[in-house]
Amino acid sequence: MKRTNALLLCCTLCLCAMAQRHTSERLHYQAGIGVSIPLPESQDNAKHLFAKVMYYLRPRLSAGLGTGISKYETELLPLYATLRWDMTTPHRFTPFVEGSIGYSYALTSSASGGSCMGLSLGASYRCRGSDEIFITIGYEHQHYSQQRSFDSSVIRARYVEEDGYNAMRIAVGYQF
C-alpha cells in the first residue's frame, strides 16, 4: 500500500510538472540518482532515486518540492522542500547551493521515518535549450527508527533503534 502511495505521489508530481511545463518557463522538473557515503558512526551506503519540481522565483533563486525512494538499512520515502540559489547568472556552467528539509516515511512495517535535511554544492551544465545536467555534493542527515530483534533457542530480544544517519551525498540528475 505504501509503495503504491509512493508511486502515486511521484506520478502526481511528475504529471503536474509536465502538464504545466508549457504554461510557465519558470517551472522545471528534475530527476536523478544519488549515493550517500556514511560519515563515521553511520552505517552502510545509502542509495537514492529522486524527482523534484522546481519553480524559479527569481532568475537565480528557485524553490521546489521533492520526493523519491531512498534505500538505507530500510527503505524510506522522503518528502521535502528545497531551495536552490545559483551563485552566478545562468551560464553554460552554473555553480549553485542547494538546501532541503523535510520528512521521510518508512515503507516497511518494522521501521518508522523521521526528519531529513541536506545542504549541498552543485554545478549544472546547460546541454539543450533550458535543459541541464547537474551534479551535487554535500551533507545529508536522515533520522529514522527501526526495530532490531534477535531470536535464539534461549532468548528473543527486541528494541527500537533510533538512527541518526549522517553522510556525504553525491547526486547527479537531469533538469528539463
Binding site: 500500500m1 505504501k2 502511495n5 502515486l8 505521489l9 502526481t12 508530481l13 503536474c16 510538472a17 502538464a19 504545466q20 504554461t23 510557465s24 517551472l27 563515521p40 558512526e41 519540481v53 519553480y55 518540492l65 520515502l77 518528502l79 520528512y103 516515511y105 518508512a106 512495517s109 518494522s110 521501521a111 518508522s112 521515518g113 527508527s145 527501526q146 526495530q147 532490531r148 530483534s149 534477535f150 535464539s152 533457542s153 534461549v154 532468548i155 528473543r156 530480544a157 527486541r158 528494541y159 527500537v160 533503534e161 533510533e162 538512527d163 541518526g164
Partner: protein, 241 residues
Amino acid sequence: MYKFTILLAVIITSHVFASCDKKLSAYETGSMCVEIKEGDNWLHDYPLFLGIKKKNPPQIAIWIEDTNGMYVSTVYVSRKAATGGWIGADGNNRKEALPCWCHSRGIRNNDGSFCPTKDHPVTDAMTGATPRKGFDTYYVNKKDMSHYYVMVEVNHSTDFNDTYTKDADVNSPYYSGGEDGSGQPALIYKAEIDMASGKGTFTASFIGHSSPDGSDGKVHTDMNGISSALNIVKQINIRLK
C-alpha cells in the same frame, strides 16, 4: 491554479503517509523490559579533531546469568563493542570497554582476547547503536528460567579524570588503555530476577566496576577514582510486561 494543484497533491499524499507512519514498539506479551534511565553524564564529550568534540552515548551490554553466575545469553550489546567498530581508537580494540561482558560470554578470538573484532563480530545477540537517551529493551526468556540475574555493563570512551588519566603507566592499576582508552572503567549493575517473589519490577544495583585495562572479567569493588561515571546511568529497572 497549477501551484495550488501541486500543493494539494503534496498535502494529501503527505497526510496519507503520515497516517501510515506508526510509532514502533518492541513490546511483546509476557516479555521482560530492561528499562535504562539515562543519568546526567549519559552523553560524554569525545574528542574528534582540532578541539572539536562530539557528544557520545555510552557502550552498553545487557546479558543474563544463571544463579551460579554462568553466562546464559546476551540481550543487547552496543554495535561498536559488538563489531569492533571503534573510530579514532588508533587500532586499539578497546578490550577495556566492556570486559566483564566479554569474559562472561567467553568466546575467545584468534588474538587470544575475548573482545569481538571486525573479523569476529558478535553474531549471537542483538546489537545496535546506543540511543542518545535512556531506552527500553525487551526480551522473552525461552528457557522459562524463574530465577536468574540480569547484568548491565556501561562504559564511556576517554572518560578520564584525575585518577584514571590518559598517560597512566601500563603497569598502573589505573591504566585504562592509554590515550584512546576508557578512562574511568566500565560500571556493572546487577538485578536479581525471582519470578516466584511476585514482584513485577526488579531494580538493578550497582555492584562495582570492571577491570580498568580489560585484562580480566572480575567485578572490582574498590571505588577509588570513580566519579562522573557513576552518573552515566540513573536507574535500571527490569519490568515484567
